[in-house]
Amino acid sequence: MLAKRIIPCLDVRDGKVVKGVNFEGIKEVGDPVECAYEYNLQGADEIVFYDITASHEGRGVMLDVVRETAKKVFVPLTVGGGIKTVDDIRDTLRAGADKVSVNSQAVQNPQLIKDGADIFGCQCICVGVDAKKVGDNKWTVYINGGRVDMRMDLIDWVKKCEQLGAGEICLNSIDTDGVRGGFDLPMLKAVCSAVKIPVIASGGAGKLSDFADAFLETDCSAALAASLFHFKELTVQQVKDDCRSKGIIVR
C-alpha cells in the first residue's frame, strides 16, 4: 500500500521564497534551499517549488535553486510555474527535479502534457489545476494564478489531462485557498472519482486535522500546503503523527 504523502510547497520568486494570501499581497520569507532542507528533516514526502518569477532570466535562478537543493535533499522534487515547452521540462528535470507541474500552459496547449509524458514518462508530468465553484457540484478551470476564468468544466479537463498522459493532478481550489478552513472536499471527491491517477489536495489547509479529513473523506493521494508550514504553525511531522493516530498510512 502506498503511503499518503504530505507535500510542503514553496512559492519562489527571483530565487527567494515568498508567500501571499489569495494569490496577492506577496512577502519574502526565506531561502528556498534552506527551507527545502528543513522540510526534508521534518519528513516531507516530496517538495514542490512553485516559480512565480515573471522574467525569463528568473528561470535560470530557479534552476540553480533546484540544482542546489538536489545536492542535499533526497526526496522527490517538483517544479511548477513558467514551464511552457518540452525544452523547459527537459531543463528542469536535468537540473535535478523529478517532476514538473504544468498549469496555465497546459490549458492553453494540452499537447504539452502529451509531449512531456511521451518523452519523459507520465510519472514526471503533474498537471496543476486551479478551479472555482460555479454551481452545485460544478467548477470551472482558471488560469494565470486564478485570475482568468476559462469557462471550462473542471471534470472534463481533469479527464482530458489523464487521457493525455498526466501522471497526477494537483488540484487547487481558489475558493478555499488562503482561507484556512480546510481543503475543498466536495471538489476533491468529484475529481478523485473522475480519474484514476493520483490527486493532490491543495489550497485551504488551516489546522492539523484538515489533512486527515482530506484523506479520510476523499481518495486523494497527497495533501499540499504552503503557509502553514512556512510560518511554522505546524510541522510535517505533526501532520503525519495526527494522520497516523487516525489509522492513515503515512511514511
Partner: protein, 204 residues
C-alpha cells in the same frame, strides 16, 4: 571509488549527489578502465528496457559489467535493477544482462494506478547487508510500471502493491538491485546507499 555507469540514462546526478553527500568518492563514467578500477559499481537507469540494453551495447560495456559484477559490489537501481535479469517483455522481448535468474514484465493490477509511484513499505524476506541499521517500518520511493519475476532465493525484500513487488534482489554475493530509488528515499535510502558503499570498502 564507486563507478556510476553513465550510458545516457536519466537521474544519474541524483545518485552522484547522494554519494557526494555521504562522502563516498565516486565517478560518472562510460569507460571500461574506470569500471575495472572501481571498488564498486552502480548501474542507474530510467527509461525503457530495450533502449537501455541498446545503449549499454553501444557503449561496449556489457562484457565488462558482467565480469566486474562477479568480483565487486554491484548495485542496479530501478531500470538498472531490471537489467540484471535474463530478459524483459517491455515493448518486445529483450535480453538483459542475465546476472540474476528471472524476467521483467508489466505490473498487472487492473484496479491499481500504474506506474506504481510513491512511498511504499519494505517487507524483508532474507537478511541482507544493505538492510543494516534499518527498522521494521521503512518506506522507500518507487516509480515504475514493470517489475521483476524471480525465485524466492533472490528476493531479499518486497512491497505490497496488489501483489508482491520485488524491491531488493540479490544473487547472494556481490550483485544487488533496488527497484526503488534509494537516492530519493530520504534517510532510509541514504542508509541503504551507505551500506552498499561500505561494502565496497570492506571488499577492498
Amino acid at each position: 571509488m564507486i563507478a556510476i555507469i553513465d550510458y545516457g540514462a536519466g537521474n544519474i546526478f541524483s545518485v552522484k549527489n547522494a554519494l557526494d553527500y555521504l562522502g563516498f568518492e565516486n565517478k560518472l563514467t562510460d569507460k571500461k578502465e574506470d569500471i575495472e578500477k572501481a571498488d564498486a559499481i552502480i548501474l542507474p537507469g530510467v527509461g525503457a528496457f530495450p533502449w537501455a540494453m541498446n545503449m549499454l551495447g553501444l557503449s561496449g560495456l556489457i562484457d565488462t559489467i558482467k565480469e566486474q559484477a562477479k568480483i565487486k559490489p554491484f548495485l542496479g537501481i530501478c531500470l538498472g535493477m531490471q537489467l540484471l535479469f535474463e530478459k524483459s517483455y517491455e515493448f518486445e522481448e529483450c535480453k538483459g544482462l542475465g546476472l540474476i535468474g528471472g524476467y521483467v514484465d508489466k505490473i498487472n493490477e487492473p484496479d491499481l494506478v500504474i506506474p506504481h509511484m510513491g512511498w511504499n513499505k519494505l517487507v524483508y524476506n532474507h537478511d541482507c547487508p544493505l538492510f543494516d541499521g534499518l527498522g521494521d517500518d521503512e518506506y522507500v520511493y518507487f516509480v515504475h510500471s514493470y517489475k521483476a519475476f524471480c525465485d524466492n532465493k533472490n528476493l531479499y525484500a518486497y512491497c505490497e502493491y496488489g501483489s508482491k513487488v520485488p524491491a531488493v534482489v540479490s544473487d547472494g554475493r556481490y550483485i544487488f538491485g533496488c527497484q526503488f530509488h534509494p537516492e530519493k528515499s530520504g534517510k532510509t535510502g541514504l542508509k541503504i546507499l551507505e551500506n552498499f558503499a561500505k561494502m565496497s570498502q570492506e571488499v577492498k
